[in-house]
Symmetry: C2
Subunit: 656 residues, 2 copies
C-alpha cells in the first residue's frame, strides 16, 4: 500500500472515530445503531462549510448544556480533579427531575400493569455474561494506534480500507466486488473472523496500528472471583425467572421491572448525557407464552396514532416516519410482530408524551434486520429528536427465548414454564436408579447433584466423565453406580421456554431530550437580555412552587411560613426565596429552573399565584393558596379552572 | 516457634476468621468496629456448650432468613450459578419494602429538612480516594495461607501470636510487657508498620502463610483510567461542595443527601443482609460553620428519651445502655459534641421508630476514642439488636473538616465557605504581575492556569518548576515571565473550611433488623402448624391490601374490580387473589408477607375488612371500602376509628 493511501486511512479512521464520539458504540450495548440520522449529520461538523441549520443546532445545544451545568441539573463528575469522560452527576434539580421521571414510570408501568419490581446487583459473575453472549458478542475488536495511543474499532478501519481501495481505478472488477462484499458483511463477522480480515488489510501497509486484540467491556476484577458490572439489568431478572414464576403462582404472562445503575466501558464517551459510562436503566422483562403474544389490554392503545417508521420505508430512499395507527400497524404482522410488543409501544408513547416530550419529535423506528442485537427477533426504538438528531431512548425488543434458553443450558437449571396438555400422553423415558452404596463413598454427600446432572446426560454409557456445574468440577460415573432402564410415563404437562418482550428505558437520554424540548428563552422586560425558561410540566418540575414574600416583615414572613408548611404537608416540593432581590429577578430565577407556580406574598390575607409561561397571575386568599397549587401540581385542576374561579391580578411592576 | 504453637496459631486464626465472617471487616468501611457485643457473642458459637439463649437466637434467625428467602424478600443473587458470596437480590416484596423505607427517609430528611438530594456516580477516579485517605487507610494488610488459599488479616494474626506467646511461662516480664504493648496498639499501626511486625512474628515459625502484601479494596480497573467503585456516597458530595454552596446562595448550614449503591470488597462476606459486597447507603452531609454547631430546631428533639450508651459507661465493666434525655446528653458536651449531631440523633431515633423498629432494642452508642474512622472527631451509632447482637445501622459522625480540607489540598480547588468580617482588616499580599509576552509563547493558551497555580506558590524565586493540576503536567516559570511585588489589601471576608456532620444509613441492615422485629408466628386454627405473620406497619408493608372474592362469580368479580381500581387510583399497592383456595389459606398467605388489610368480597353491596394482627373484621359498604383502607394505609385513620364506626363482622369460618 502506498503512502497516500496510508495517510488517507489514518485520516479516514479519525473521521470514523469522530463520528463514533458522537453516536458510535451503542452496538456495544443491547440496542444497535440507533442514531442513524445523527451519524449522517455529524461528519459534516468538521467541514468548514457547515450548514446554517447545523450551526443553529450546535448553538442551541451549547446553550442548553451550559444552562444544565450552571444550574447543576447535570454536571461533570469529579470536576475538581478534571473529571472523567463519560461520568456525570445529577445535582439537586437534576436528581429531583430523575426521581419524578422514575415515579411516573413506576406509576405507568409497575403499578398500572401490576408488575413485580425487583433489584438485582450490578456486580455479576462472569458465568452470567458468558451464557448471555455478552462476553462473546460485545467484545469489539479494537486496534491501537501506536502513535497517539488511541483505540479504534477494527470493523470501521476495515470498511475505510475497502472503500478507499475501491477508488483505485486499476483494480479489477472481481476485486471490487470482493471489497463490496467485505463492506456489506463486516459487521456480521465474529471477532475472530474480523481479526483475520484486519490482519490481511493491515499487512498491505506500513501501519502505525498495533495488531488487533480484543478489548473486554464492562470488566471488573475482584479478588474473590471474576465479576463484571452489568451493562443492563435484564440478566438478573432472567437468572431469577423460576423464582418469580413460582411467586406468580406459576402463571404467564407476568412482568418483572427493574430500575438500576448499569455500566458500559465506552471507548470514547462524549455527547453529555447521551453516552455515559454509568447510567440508570429502567427495564421491563415481560414473560409470555411463545404462542400467545396477544395482549388483553391492546384495545386501550389500538387507536393511538403517532409517527412510526417501518422497516420497508427505511429501505426506500428519502422516506420519513409517518403517522400510523398502532392497531393497523400491528395487524400487518410484518410491522409489529405481536400485540404485546405493540401494546408496549403504545404505553411507551403515552408515558413519553405525559412527561412532556414533543410528540412531533418522537417516532418509533423498526430495526433493520441486520441491526438487531444477537438475542432479538424484533425491535422497535422510541427515538426522540434533539440537537444530535434522532436518538434512541427506549428500545422495545422481542428477545425471544434466547436468554432463558442460554441460562438453562449453561446453569443446568431449567428456566421453563409449564402448561397442561389437553390430554395426557404417554412418553418413553429412561429411568436412572442410582446405586447409593456405590455413589455415596464416591461423592461424599454430593450424590444428589451428580444424579441430577446425570439425568441430563442420558446418552451416557459405561464410564462417563462430565462436568457438574453445581459442584464446579468433573465427576466420573462408573457402570456399577447406576442402573438404567426404559419405562413408559404418563405426562399431562409440557415444559416450554417463555419468550421475553423487553421495553428498556434509558432514563438519562429521555431526560436530556426532555431538557431540550422544554428549554426556551424570552426577552427580559427591558429587552436587554434573553431569559431562560424550562417549560417543565408540574409532574416533572424539580420544584413545584416558589414562595416570595414581597418585602421583609413579620406578617409576610408568617404568611409565607403558613403556605410553606401546608405545601410540605401535602407533599409538594416548595422553596422559599427570601433574598432581598427584586421580585422580577426572583421570578426569572424561578423560571429558569422551570418552577410552574410562584406565590408572591404581598398582603396578610391574600397572595398572587403566577403561571410561569404566560406570566399571568391570579389573586387567591392566603388560606386557599396551598390547596390551589396542590391541586394543579397533582393535575387535579388546570389553569383554565383557576382562571375561571379567581380574579386576575395585574401588576405592571410584577416582572421588573 | 515450636510446632504446637504453630498449630495453635492456625487454629486461632481460623477462629478469628470465623468471627470475622460474622462481624468482622467493618473497619474496612467508614464506621469502625460496630458490633462489639456481637463479636463477643459469636466466638461461643463454635463451642459445643452453646447456651440455650444462643441456640434460640440461631433457630429464630434461621427461621427468619428461610422465610425471607422463600417469599423472595431477599435471596442470594445468581443462585442458578451457585451465587456469589455477599451478593443479594431484592425480590418483589423486598424491593417494595426498600422503596417504602427510602420514601419515608426522603420525607423525614430531604423534604422536612429542605436538603438537596443529588446523585453522583459509583465509579470514582483514584485521585478522589487518594485524597480522602481511603486508599491508604482501608488497605488492610492481608496474608494468604498457602495451604488453603484463604486470606487472613495480618493484625488479627499478630494479636493471636502475641497472646499465645504470653502463655509461655518461660518468657521474661519484659517480653510479656512488650507483647501487651503490641496487642494494645496493633490496630493503630499503618500497613507498613504492621507488615514489619508480622514479618518479625512469622520469621519465628515455619509458617504456611505467605509474606504479607496489601490487598486493595474497591478496585476496578477500566481501560481508560484507574477507577474505584465507591464504598460510600459521601466523596461525591464533598468534591462538588463548592457548586452546592453556590447554589445555596453561599449560605451555611445546608445538607446534601444521597441515596445510592456502594461497593465493598469484603474478604469473607456472610451474615446475609448485614455484610454484603453491594448495598444501598442513604447519606447526609450536613455542612456547618465550625463554630456554630448549634441547631435551630434542636428544641424539637431535646425532650426525647431513649437508650444511650455514652463512652464512659462502656469503659466501666458490666454497664449497659441507659434511658437518657437527649437534651441533657447534649448539654454535657462530652456525651454529644454538638447540638447538630444531637439533633440528627433525635431525628434518626424518630425515623427508626416510625419504621417499626422496637425502641427497646434500639440504642445510640458513642464510639470509643480508638474505634473512630480516620476522619471522625466524634461518632454515635444507632445500633439495633437482632439475633446477631447489637448491629450498627446508622452512623452519625462529625467528620470535621477532614474531607473538604483533603480535597482542597489534593485538587488545588479551595473547598471553602466565606464569612464577612465584623470590620475589614488590612493584609499584606504578594502581587504577581504576569509578563504576558513571555508567558504566551511559553504556554500557548494555558497562561491563565499557570498564573493561577503560581499564586499558590508564592515563595518561589527565580526559575521554578511545579505541577499544575489543571494542565496535568509540570511547568517551568522563569524570572522574566512575572514581576512580583508586595501591596496592602483591604479584606472584609475570610475563607474557612466548613465541618461535616454525617448521618449515614445502611438501608439493608435497617431492613434486616426490621424483618426480625416484625417477624412473628401464631398457631393455625387447627393448632397443627405455626403460621408466620410479618407485623409490618402499613407504611412499610410491601402490599397494603389484598382483595379476596369469596367465591368465583360475576358479581363478586365486578365488586373486586371496583375496589381494586379505586385503590390503584389512590396509589395504594393492592393485589387480588382469585385462587380457588380456602379463604383461611388466602389470609395466611397474606399475613406471611405482612399485608395489613384484607378485603373479602362476600356480597354485592358490602365487604369485610380484616385486621392482620387481631384477625378481627368489620363490615363496610362496597363504596366505602377503598377509602377506608386508603385512610388507614396513609395513617390518616386508625383501626380504633374504624372499630368505632363500622359493625364488627364475626365469622367462625373466616380463618379456616
Amino acid at each position: 500500500m502506498d503512502a497516500p493511501e496510508q495517510s488517507f486511512l489514518r485520516e479516514k479512521s479519525l473521521a470514523v472515530e469522530d463520528q463514533e464520539l458522537a453516536v458510535g458504540t451503542l452496538e456495544d450495548s443491547h440496542a444497535a445503531k440507533p442514531e442513524t440520522d445523527a451519524a449522517i449529520q455529524l461528519p459534516n461538523k468538521s467541514k468548514p462549510d457547515k450548514s446554517a441549520v447545523e450551526k443553529d443546532r450546535e448553538d442551541f445545544r451549547e446553550a442548553v448544556v451550559k444552562t444544565l451545568d450552571r444550574l447543576l441539573f447535570v454536571h461533570k463528575s469529579f470536576d475538581i480533579y478534571r473529571g472523567v469522560a463519560g461520568l456525570y452527576d445529577f445535582g439537586p434539580h437534576g436528581r429531583t427531575v430523575e426521581l419524578n421521571v422514575l415515579s411516573l414510570w413506576r406509576k405507568c408501568f409497575v403499578d398500572e400493569e401490576d408488575m413485580m419490581e425487583v433489584a438485582c446487583t450490578a456486580l455479576t459473575p462472569e458465568a452470567v455474561f458468558n451464557a448471555s453472549g455478552h462476553v462473546k458478542n460485545f467484545t469489539d475488536l479494537m486496534v491501537k494506534d501506536e502513535v497517539d495511543g488511541a483505540f479504534h474499532r477494527a470493523d470501521h478501519l476495515v470498511k475505510s480500507y475497502c472503500e478507499n481501495r475501491k477508488k483505485d481505478p486499476t483494480i479489477s472488477a472481481e476485486n471490487a466486488a470482493e471489497l463490496d462484499k467485505v463492506i456489506a458483511h463486516v459487521e456480521d463477522l465474529s471477532a475472530e473472523e474480523l481479526g483475520g480480515v484486519w490482519n490481511h488489510c493491515s499487512s498491505h501497509e506500513e501501519s502505525t496500528f498495533s495488531s488487533s486484540s480484543p478489548l473486554q467491556l464492562d470488566v471488573s476484577n475482584f479478588l474473590w472471583s471474576k465479576c463484571y458490572l452489568r451493562p443492563e439489568t435484564a440478566q438478573g431478572s432472567f437468572c431469577n425467572f423460576k423464582d418469580y414464576y413460582n411467586l406468580n403462582g406459576r402463571k404467564l404472562p407476568f412482568a418483572v421491572a427493574q430500575v438500576g445503575r448499569v455500566f458500559r466501558n465506552e471507548i470514547s464517551p462524549r455527547q453529555g448525557l447521551l453516552r455515559t459510562r454509568e447510567f440508570t436503566l429502567a427495564e421491563i422483562e415481560h414473560f409470555v407464552h411463545p404462542e400467545h403474544k396477544s395482549h388483553s389490554k391492546f384495545s386501550d392503545v389500538a387507536k393511538l396514532e403517532f409517527l412510526m417508521f417501518p422497516r420497508e420505508e427505511q429501505e426506500k430512499p428519502g422516506q420519513f416516519a409517518k403517522r400510523l395507527c398502532l392497531g393497523e400497524a400491528v395487524a400487518k404482522v410484518r410491522h409489529v410482530n405481536s400485540e404485546t410488543l405493540g401494546y408496549f409501544i403504545g404505553r411507551v408513547y403515552l408515558f413519553l408524551i405525559r412527561l412532556g416530550i414533543d410528540k412531533e419529535r418522537l417516532r418509533f423506528r423498526h430495526h433493520l434486520a441486520n441491526e438487531m442485537a444477537h438475542y432479538a427477533t424484533d425491535c422497535w426504538d422510541a427515538e426522540i429528536e434533539c440537537s444530535y438528531g434522532w436518538i434512541e431512548c427506549v428500545g422495545i425488543a422481542d428477545r425471544s427465548d434466547y436468554d432463558l434458553r442460554a441460562h438453562s443450558e449453561k446453569s443446568g437449571h431449567a428456566l421453563v414454564a409449564q402448561e397442561k396438555l389437553a390430554e395426557p400422553i404417554e412418553v418413553e423415558k429412561l429411568a436412572i436408579t442410582p446405586e447409593m452404596k456405590e455413589l455415596g463413598p464416591a461423592f461424599k454427600g454430593n450424590q444428589k447433584n451428580v444424579v441430577e446432572a446425570l439425568e441430563a446426560n442420558l446418552e451416557s454409557k459405561g464410564e462417563v466423565e462430565f462436568y457438574v456445574c453445581t459442584l464446579g468440577k468433573n465427576v466420573t460415573i462408573k457402570k456399577n453406580m447406576v442402573s438404567i432402564s426404559k419405562k413408559m410415563d404418563k405426562v399431562s404437562t409440557w415444559d416450554f421456554t417463555p419468550v421475553v418482550i423487553e421495553p428498556s428505558f434509558g432514563i438519562g437520554r429521555i431526560m436530556y431530550c426532555l431538557f431540550e424540548h422544554c428549554y426556551s428563552t424570552r426577552p427580559s422586560k427591558a429587552g436587554d437580555e434573553q431569559l431562560i425558561v424550562f417549560r417543565f410540566s408540574p409532574l416533572v418540575a424539580p420544584i413545584k412552587c416558589k414562595i416570595f414574600p414581597l418585602v421583609k416583615n413579620q406578617q409576610f414572613e408568617e404568611a409565607t411560613k403558613f403556605i410553606s408548611k401546608e405545601l410540605k404537608s401535602n407533599g409538594i416540593k416548595q422553596d422559599v426565596d427570601i433574598t432581598g432581590t427584586s421580585i422580577g429577578k426572583r421570578y426569572a430565577r424561578s423560571d429558569e429552573i422551570g418552577v410552574p407556580f410562584a406565590i408572591t406574598v404581598d398582603s396578610e390575607t391574600s397572595v398572587t399565584i403566577r403561571e410561569r409561561d404566560s406570566k399571568d397571575q391570579v389573586r387567591v386568599s392566603l388560606k386557599e393558596a396551598a390547596s390551589v397549587v396542590t391541586s394543579m401540581a397533582e393535575e387535579k385542576m388546570t389553569w383554565q379552572d383557576v382562571w375561571a374561579s379567581f380574579p386576575l391580578h395585574s401588576s405592571a411592576a410584577a416582572d421588573e
